[in-house]
Each structure stands twice: as C-alpha cells, then as structure tokens.
C-alpha cells in the first residue's frame, strides 16, 4: 500500500510537470479541431453578442460602447417586462403540458396495445412535422372564419359566434401554448417510453407479488426508474422552449397587442427596427435563466 501511495504521488507530480509536455501537447493538438469549432461557433458569437449588447449599435450609426445602458433601458421598458412575464407563463405551462401529456402517452404506449408499433409511430407525427407547417396548420385551425375549431364549436352549438383564438387577449396565450404542447410532447413521450422500457420487469413482478397496486408500482418503480431521463428531457426542452420563436411568431407575432410577446420575439422585433444593441441585450437576458435551470437540473442529476 505504501508503495502504491508513493507511486500515486509520483504520478500526480508527473501530471503537473507534464501539463505542457510532449505527450500532453499531442493531446491538445488532437482536441484542437473540436476546440476551434467550439470557439468559432460558440465562444466567438457569444462574445460578439455580449460586446454588441454593450454598445448602441443600430443601422446607420457606428457602434459606441455604452456600458450596461441597454440593460438598464430594458428593465425599465414595460414591454420587456411584459415579454419576460409572458415567457415565464408560456414556458411553465408548455413544460407542464408536455410533461403530463408525454408521460401519459408514454405509459399508454408501454402497455400491450393492439398495433402498438403503429400508435408509437403516429405519436411522433407532430414532432416529425416541420415547425413551420405545424404552426401554420394551427393558425388555420384557430381561424375564426374558416378554422376547424370554430366550425366545430359553432356547428355543435357550444358557442354562438366564432372565437378569435389568436386575436383575443383572453384566448391567445392559451391557444399558442396548446399548439406548442401538441408539437413538442412526442419528444417527451418517446424519451419516457424508452426509459420505461429500460426499467427491469423483475421489479414490477416482485412488487406485484408483494401486493403493490398499479399506482404504487408507478410511484415507487416507474417514476424513480425514469427520473434521470425526466431531468435531462426537462432541461433540454426547457432551454429549447425558452428560446422558441416560431410558435409565437407564426401564429400571433406577439399579438394581439403584446399579449403573447415572449423574449425571443421581443428581441427579434428589436432587430427588425434596427436597434441591434438593445436587441442583443434582450436576447442575452434569456441566457442567465437557461443557465440557472441547467445548473439546478444538472445538480439534481448529479445527486441521483
């Protein structure tokens, strides 16, 4: 044991001494392509965007350093605050919806169903569809004049007059959330299904022998078994939803008024009006939220 410890110490000191030794230099050389890609596609754009957010860049003028002025302005802008509030509502409900629907469908598809393979394929359709097509279809479905939803509601007498699902403040956010859930839940469902299939059957059999009912088996075997997948899917999907743009832009463009403006739409609008510095600040304002969520979930995963 003593010898081993000594050798370990030696190894450790060699490691430090050889940080830039010929062997390690070769290692650095090997990771250079990946590091270059990361630099050009991640570090450079991010640094450039951070720099831009600290300037008054707009079309027609040279960018001048203004410090954190853009951020100060943003937090004093009622429309930004509305966008931030809308983002919280949008992301929370969309994620909750995807989780409930995704898990429910995964459990259903995990059962011995007739034509189970077919149903599993069908569930993937919304996710396989290009986002542009999916949201344009929802826009049509919600249309007050020719939309299927309103035709159904008025023909069945549920409502007397068509509802402007995307044009009425009361309905707009809920309608977009529903469409986003529809488009995104298959990813959750398939991931959960794969995780459920990896839970050893023996655990269920043993629990059944011990008299555990379906709820107990789900609560104490299935859920803990798929917990790491839930956390990973939750993290990836939340970051994706925070940055999502097409669902809102294609259906309401943030309207009516600012009822469905979320942060990415707010940032894009800044870009269309040439306020590049302010727009960059708005876009970056989403990053800390995503980082906090990622750290929180990664910590949970680590504990698991």
């Amino acid at each position: 044991m003593v010898v081993k410890v000594g050798r370990q110490k030696d190894l450790g000191s060699k490691k430090r001494a050889g940080l830039f030794g010929p062997t390690n230099l070769f290692g650095y050389f090997m990771i250079l392509p990946a590091m270059s890609v990361l630099f050009f596609f991640f570090a450079y754009p991010l640094t450039f965007e951070i720099w831009t957010s600290l300037t008054d860049a707009n079309l027609g003028n040279d960018a001048k350093f203004v410090g954190v002025d853009n951020y100060v302005k943003l937090f004093a802008d009622p429309e930004f605050l509305t966008a931030a509030k809308n983002s919280v509502v949008y992301v929370s409900f969309v994620q909750a919806g995807k989780f409930i629907l995704g898990l429910g469908i995964a459990i259903l598809l995990h059962q011995k169903l007739v034509a189970r393979g077919f149903w599993r394929a069908v569930v993937l359709v919304p996710y396989a569809m290009p986002g542009f097509v999916a949201f344009m279809v929802w826009k049509l479905i919600y249309n007050p004049d020719v939309g299927a939803m309103n035709i159904f509601l008025t023909k069945t007498g549920i409502t007397d007059a068509p509802i402007a699902f995307l044009g009425d403040r009361t309905w707009a956010m809920a309608s977009v959330i529903f469409a986003t859930i529809w488009r995104g839940f298959p990813f959750w469902a398939i991931m959960f299904l794969a995780a459920l299939q990896a839970v050893p059957k023996e655990l269920y059999e043993a629990a059944a022998v011990d008299g555990a009912n379906a709820w107990h088996r789900f609560r104490n075997i299935s859920l803990p078994g798929i917990r790491p997948v839930i956390l990973i899917v939750f993290m990836l999907s939340t970051i994706n939803t925070i940055n999502s743009f097409e669902a809102i832009w294609l259906t309401t463009a943030g309207g009516p008024s600012d009822a469905t403006v979320i942060l990415p739409v707010f940032a894009y609008k800044g870009l269309t009006t040439f306020q590049i510095g302010e727009s960059a600040a708005a876009a970056l304002s989403m990053v800390p939220i995503a980082i906090v969520i990622a750290i929180f979930l990664l910590n949970k995963l680590k504990k698991d």
């Binding site: 079309l59 027609g60 003028n61 040279d62 826009k139 249309n143 007050p144 004049d145 020719v146 007059a161 068509p162 402007a164 995307l166 044009g167 009425d168 403040r169 259906t251 309401t252 463009a253 943030g254 309207g255 009516p256 008024s257 009822a259 894009y268 870009l271 269309t272 009006t273 040439f274 306020q275 590049i276």
Partner: protein, 472 residues
C-alpha cells in the same frame, strides 16, 4: 379616377369622387395570359445592355468578378405577382448573360427585408444591389448606401423626370436623397363588393369618408363587413395612417423634431376606430399578423371592403397558386381612392427604390444593372404585371395605365402622378420611419381597443415612445 386621387388635402367634402364611383371597365381577359410570359420577352431584345469597352470600370469589375469565381447578387423585393417577380429575375439573368458574369437574383419577402438587411450588415453579406422601401433608405443612410446621384440624374434625364409619387425621394429635405433610384409607386385603393352592398341596401358608390365606409361596413356585417386589419401588419398601419391624417393628426412638427401625437386629432382618430370596432364593423379575424389576410378574405368572398394595391384584382383576373380566376367577383368589384376624414383626404404613395450598398465590390456593375432594369422596355414588361405605378414620367406612355383598359393600373398611375408622399404631412426622416416599426399606429390602436387602455393613457405612451425616437 384622377380627380379622386388628386390629393385632396382639405375638407373631404371638397373631393370629387366621380370617376371612383364608376364601375371599372371590365378588363379584357385576353389581354393578360394566365401563363408566365416567354422567358426572353420581346421587350428585352432591344433592352440588352450596351456593350462596354474592355477598359471601362464595368469591364474591370466583370474581370474581377469572374476572377473571384463569385456571383453578382441582387435582392429583388417580392411582390404579389409571380409573373412580375419572374420578369425581374429573368431581366437580371439576361443582363448577367450579356455581361458574361454569374448572377444570383434572390427574391426577398419585403416583410423580412429589414431583418435580413440587419443580419447581412452585421455579417458582412449584403448583396451587390437591392430593392427596398424609402424607410429603409433613411435607416441605412449614406453610411451604408452608395451615393448614386449621377445615376439618378441620368435616369431623370432619360426617362423624363420623376412622377409626383417618386419626386419626394429626390427632394432636398429627404435625408436619403441621392441614395436610391425609385422604380415603382405603390399605394392602396379601396376594393368594394358592389353586389353585396346593393343586396344590403347600402350605397354602392365610392365612399367619400371613412365614416361613410364604416357605416356601409356595419350594414354588411353578415357578409363580412370591413376587411381592415387591426393586427401587427403593414396593411393595418397604412390604413390607420391615412385615417389618422384624415382626422388631422400628425406625428411630428414641421421641423421633424417634436412629436405631436398628444393632440385632440389623435383622440378623434382613436375615437373613430373605437366607435366602429364596438359596433362590430371589423371582421372577427381582423387582429391578425398575416399580411395576406385581407386579400384572402376578399378573394374568398368573405368581406365587403379592403384596401389593396391591386394584387387582389390581378389575382381575380389571372388566378394564382392558391386562388382560381374569378371574373364574376372581378366584375362585382368597385375601386376607389382611400376615403377622407373630417380634416383631410390623402392618397399615400410609397416609392419602391433600388440601391447599392456601400460594401458592394462591384458598384459599377450594380449601376449598370439598375440602368438596364430601368430601361423603358424592361419596365414596361415589369409594370404590366406588377402592382406599382410609374416612377418616371417617361413610363407613362404604356396603354395599360388607361383605366378603361385596366382599372387597377389606371388607379396606380393616378396615384403615382397625383398621390401624396406616404409620410405627408410629416417630414420623412429616420425618426418617422422608426416610429412605424417600433410602435406605429397599429400598436396605438391595439392598446386602446384590445388592452382596454384609455385614449389618454394610450396617447401618453405613444407620445413617449415617439418623442424618444425623435430625440435620438
């Protein structure tokens, strides 16, 4: 129609609407083939670019471009006419072939031009030349666009001077003077369903005032009413702007520095919109972000009034990918100038222009291309299918401008020759252009109508945003 569009900056009552009340002459269907014209139109035969000596700047740029192995890129402003879009593309290709260079004519949705230009500027990927609107010229300014005043002067000389719609782009007060060549004048005409108005017992004559139009809109609610957008789209902005000015409103003072939204005129304008919104004169789906919403509504027979620059009529006659020809609806459609308010009646005319980014490595080639595209025969081919009025007087000789031959082209010609600047009575500067993008009339109306903000609160917010932009 000329009398109708003739400015009318005065009491609405003083406006003669005689020609506008006329049922448009049926357009001979045979005049326009439904199919795309031949790839190489006859017009192009004499419009081939003039040969250039090997030592000219153009030829030097040709050599440089070919040596680089790259393509000359042009962004064409997409319009609601597939044939006109193709004609523009074909002309650029013909020019490239004649010059012996590779070209890349890209069709750009004009709703996305601002975002695309912003991104391209940041990435250093601006095209060699492009189409845009006056507002973007102001935003880009001389720091981003090449001064091409000599080319503009040449065009003025060759094509007989500007029409009224294009003249403001060369006005000394226009901050974008010298930076672009206007090639088309666009603006809205009211399209109205004569048959539905008659069935509802409403007047079928051209409405002289907005009140009159909305009154007719409420009478025809069951069959669609007024198809004016209330959402975040350019159509809503242009109609609201005309109404706002009609009620005596203006964005800023004569100096173009102090925002003047907080006035009784703005309150009157908001009151007008709210009154008719509450009466249900607007379609249920009017709060939309779809720029084609009103067109589709009208083409589908689901509204009585829309404001449109002519694309709907062209579609009715020729059909499109989405809509079949509908000569019956075309026959039942009446056209007129935008109505007026109690204080004024305006015919806002926007100029579409061609410009060269300062970053273009081939400015002489870009000028050469613009010169080629502005050739009378090329413009004749383009205008016949486009929804633009003429930018130069010399283009006024084409027979399709005659309203008896084509009511929409007749209206566009009238707009180009008699219309007012779209910014009238405001000074067309960068702040004016920015307000349209950042807040605009549409958002002001939405705050009042949809968010339930009082007129005072709405105007206060709009005034603050506006003044901040003017202060910049």
């Amino acid at each position: 129609m000329a009398a109708v569009l003739a400015l009318a900056i005065g009491g609405a009552g003083s406006i003669s609407a005689d020609a506008a009340t006329k049922k448009p002459a049926a357009k001979p269907a045979a005049k326009k083939p439904a199919a795309k014209p031949a790839a190489k139109p006859a017009a192009s035969q004499s419009a081939d670019p003039a040969p250039v000596a090997a030592t000219t700047p153009v030829q030097k740029e040709v050599a440089a471009l070919n040596a680089s192995g790259k393509k000359f890129t042009y962004w064409i402003g997409l319009i609601f006419s597939d044939i006109a879009n193709s004609a523009a593309q074909d002309q650029i290709k013909s020019w490239g072939k004649a010059r012996g260079i590779q070209v890349d004519p890209v069709l750009v949705n004009q709703n996305n031009t601002n975002a695309q230009v912003t991104a391209a500027l940041a990435a250093g990927t601006m095209p060699d030349a492009l189409d845009m609107g006056e507002a973007l010229v102001l935003q880009l300014g001389a720091k981003n666009l090449l001064n091409i005043q000599p080319l503009i002067d040449e065009m003025v000389k060759v094509h007989g001077g500007f029409t009224a719609g294009a003249a403001p782009t060369d006005d000394k007060s226009f901050a974008g003077k010298g930076l672009s060549v206007p090639y088309g004048i666009s603006g809205n005409l009211i399209n109205r369903r004569l048959d539905l108005l008659k069935d509802a017992g409403a007047k079928t004559t051209a409405p002289k005032t907005w009140e009159e139009l909305m009154e007719a809109g409420t009478k025809t609610m069951k069959v669609g009413g007024a198809g004016f957008a209330l959402g975040n789209v350019g159509d809503a902005e242009s109609v609201f702007r005309a109404q706002f000015v009609g009620y005596g409103g203006r964005l800023a003072d004569d100096a173009g520095k102090k925002c003047t939204l907080d006035t009784p005129a703005t309150r009157d304008f908001l009151g007008f919109v709210k009154k008719w919104y509450d009466k249900g004169a607007y379609a249920t789906s009017a709060v939309t972000n779809d720029g084609g919403w009103d067109n589709n509504l009208y083409l589908g027979g689901k509204t009585v009034f829309i404001a449109n620059p002519g694309s709907v009529y062209t579609t009715l006659l020729n059909g499109s990918a989405a809509w079949p020809k509908n000569p019956t609806l075309a026959k039942n459609t009446g056209f007129s100038a935008l109505p007026g308010g109690p204080k004024a009646r305006v015919a806002p005319a926007n100029a579409a222009v061609r410009a060269i980014p300062i970053t273009s490595k081939y400015p002489e080639l870009a000028k050469d291309l613009i010169r080629y595209m502005m050739d009378t025969r090329n413009m004749q081919e383009y205008y016949e299918w486009a929804i633009y009025g003429p930018a130069f007087k010399g283009y006024g000789k084409f027979n399709f401008w005659d309203e008896n031959v084509d009511p929409v082209h007749g209206g566009l010609y009238d707009l180009a020759t008699n219309g007012t600047s779209a910014s009238f009575p405001d000074t067309n500067n960068a702040a004016y252009a920015a307000f349209g993008g950042v807040f605009g009339m549409s958002k002001m109306v939405q705050r009042h109508l949809l968010d339930g903000d009082s007129a005072d609160k709405t105007i206060k917010e709009a005034q603050a945003v506006c003044q901040a932009l003017y202060d910049k």
